[in-house]
Point group: C2
Chain length 338, copies 2
C-alpha cells in the first residue's frame, strides 16, 4: 500500500499536470505544494509511484505525467466532486428554464455542458424503455393506411405509417384506439407487450389482421427506438486537446460521428451514480486517449437517459464531475416539471 504522502504526491502531480500540460518534476512539485519534504524525497516517492504504474516519464530525464491508472486512483481515492458555486447553479437553471420543448431542452443541455466543461458534450434523449406512455393515437390516412403516434411522458413523439392487410372501419378504429389507450396509458414501455398481448381476440375476424399489424408496429417502435438518439456539441473544444492533435483528434471525431459507438459508451456506464472511464478503459480504440464522464438523469427518482462529456484524459476531473452532476440534476428537474 502506498503511504499517505505518496498519494499526496500523486495528487499534486495530477493537479499540476492538468494545469500546465507539462510533465512535472520533483523540484517544481515541492515549490508549488507544501509537502513538507525535500525534492529528493519526492523523487524517491515518484520512483515508487512509477514502479507501481501510476505515473510515467515521456523520456528519460523528463518530469512525470500520470498514467491512466494514476488518474483512476486520483478519481477513486484522491479527488472529490467539486460542487458548482451558487452563481453557477443559478446560471444553469436560468439557461435551462427557457427551453420550450424536448429538443430545446436537449439542445440547451448540450451547449451548457460544452461551455461549462469546455469539452465535448453528449446528451442522450430520454429513453423510451424506461419512460411511460402518455397517449397512443391512431389516424386513418386512407381506408387501409393508418398512422400510429406515440407520446411519452418526457414529451417525445414517435410516429409510424401502417399499411393494413384489409380496410379498417372508423368504428373499429375508435374501438381499437380506446382499448389501446385504456390499457397502456400511463404504463411503462417495458410493460406494454404483455398488456396488449390478448387484444386481437376482442376483434372480429376481418379486423384481426389489422389489429395484429398495428400491435406489432407498436412493439417494433418500442424496440427500434430503444436504440436511442443523442445530441453532441462542443466539438470545437477538441482543438484544445494537445499539441500533437492531428493524430489524436481524428479518431475522436470519427468516434463521435458514430452514434452507435457513443450509445454503447453511455450504455456501459452504470445506471445510477457518476461513471468515469479513463483512457484505455474505453472499449473504443479511437477514444483511448480520452476520458468519458457520464451520469444518468431523469424526471423523478430514476434515470431515463444519460449525459456526459468526452475530453482528454488530462482533464479537471473534480470540476468536470461537478458540472456534469449539476447539469444532470437540473435537467431532471426541468423534465419533471414539463
Amino acid at each position: 500500500m502506498l503511504s499517505e504522502r505518496r498519494l499526496e504526491v500523486l495528487r499534486a502531480i495530477v493537479q499540476d499536470y492538468v494545469g500546465t500540460e507539462e510533465p512535472v518534476g520533483s523540484k517544481a512539485l515541492t515549490e508549488r505544494h507544501s509537502l513538507g519534504v525535500s525534492p529528493a524525497t519526492v523523487r524517491n516517492d515518484m520512483a515508487a509511484l512509477e514502479d507501481e504504474g501510476f505515473i510515467a516519464q515521456p523520456h528519460t530525464s523528463a518530469g512525470r505525467i500520470p498514467t491512466d491508472k494514476g488518474y483512476r486512483l486520483f478519481v477513486d481515492k484522491l479527488a472529490g466532486v467539486k460542487p458548482m458555486t451558487l452563481p453557477e447553479r443559478r446560471a444553469i437553471q436560468n439557461f435551462l428554464d427557457g427551453a420550450v420543448d424536448l429538443d430545446d431542452v436537449v439542445g440547451r443541455t448540450v451547449r451548457l455542458l460544452a461551455q461549462l466543461t469546455r469539452q465535448v458534450a453528449v446528451v442522450q434523449y430520454p429513453s423510451l424503455t424506461r419512460s411511460t406512455v402518455r397517449h397512443v393515437e391512431l389516424l386513418a390516412l386512407a381506408p387501409a393506411r393508418l398512422m400510429l403516434v406515440l407520446i411519452t411522458d418526457t414529451g417525445r413523439v414517435e410516429q409510424r405509417m401502417i399499411d393494413c392487410p384489409a380496410p379498417f372501419g372508423e368504428s373499429s378504429l375508435a374501438d381499437l384506439r380506446a382499448r389501446l389507450n385504456s390499457r397502456v396509458a400511463g404504463r411503462r414501455f417495458a410493460d406494454v407487450p404483455q398488456l396488449v398481448q390478448d387484444l386481437p381476440e376482442a376483434f372480429e375476424n376481418e379486423d384481426r389482421g389489422t389489429v395484429t399489424t398495428v400491435l406489432s408496429t407498436l412493439l417494433e417502435t418500442l424496440v427500434e427506438e430503444t436504440e436511442e438518439r443523442l445530441m453532441i456539441g462542443g466539438t470545437a473544444n477538441l482543438t484544445r486537446f494537445g499539441h500533437d492533435f492531428p493524430l489524436t483528434i481524428r479518431p475522436v471525431l470519427e468516434a463521435l460521428e458514430e452514434q452507435v459507438v457513443l450509445l454503447k459508451l453511455l450504455g456501459e456506464a452504470t445506471d445510477s451514480g457518476m461513471t468515469v472511464r479513463i483512457g484505455h478503459e474505453n472499449a473504443h480504440e479511437g477514444l483511448n486517449s480520452t476520458s468519458v464522464v457520464s451520469v444518468g438523469y431523469g424526471s423523478g427518482g430514476e434515470a431515463v437517459a444519460k449525459l456526459g462529456v468526452v475530453g482528454p484524459t488530462r482533464m479537471d476531473y473534480p470540476g468536470t464531475m461537478g458540472a456534469v452532476r449539476a447539469v444532470a440534476r437540473y435537467v431532471g428537474q426541468i423534465l419533471a416539471e414539463s
Copy 2:
C-alpha cells in the same frame, strides 16, 4: 483580358496545387503539363496572373498558390463538372435505396456525401415551406388539451401540444379535423394561411376560441419550422485540412455547430443550379478559408431543400461538384418515390 495560355497556366496551377498542397513553381509546371513553352515564359505569365490577383506567393521566392479570385475564375471558366462514373452512380443509388424513412434518407445522404467528397457534408431537411400537406390530424389528449400533427408529402411529421381556452367536444373536433383536411390536404404550405383564414366563422361561439388557437398553432408551426433542421457529417475530414490547422479548424467547427450559420449559408445560395462560395465570399468569418459547394434538391421538378459540402478552398472543385450534383439528383428521386 488574359490570353488563352495564361488561363491554361492558371488551370494548371490550380490542379497541381490541389493535388500536391504545395506552392507550384514555373519549372514544375512545364514538366507536369505540356504547355509547349519554357519555364521562363510561364514565369512571365505567372507575374501577370499575380498582378491581376489570381495567384499569390506565400513568401518571396516560393511557388505560387491560387487566390480566392483565382479559384473563382477556375470554377467559372476553366473547369467543368466532373460527372460520376457509372459504378459510382450505381453505388450511390444502392446506398440510398436502403433508406427506411426521412431521417434515414438524410442520414445516409450525409454519410454518402462526406465519403464521396472526403469533406464535411451538410444536408438540409426538406423544407416545409415548399412542400405540401399530406394530412393534418387533431387528437384530444384531455378535454382541453389537443395535439396537432402535421404530415408532409416528404414524410416529415411535426407535432404540437395545444392548451385550449375551453373544453372542446368530440364532435366539434371531428368537424374541425374534417374541415381542415378538406381545405389543406394536398396544398402547399405557403398557401395554408389563406385557406384557413375564415374557418373560425363556421363554428359556434364557444368553440371559436379553440379553433383560433388551433389555427394559430398550425401557422406558427409552419413559420417556426421554416427555420429548418439540418444534419452534418464527416467532420473528421477536417483533419485533412492543412498543416497549420489548429487555427483553421477551430472556427470551422464552431461555425458548423451553429445551425443558424449553416442555414444562412445554404440560404444564400441560389435556389436552382449549383452554387460555389469560395473563401472570403462566405459571409461568416470562420469559414473564410473554406469553400462551400451547394445545390438544391427535391422530389419532382423543384427544389425543396439544399445540400452541400464544406471543405478547404484548396479542393477538387470539378470532382466535388460532380459528387454533390449526383447525390442531389438521386436523393430527389428517392424522395419522389416514397
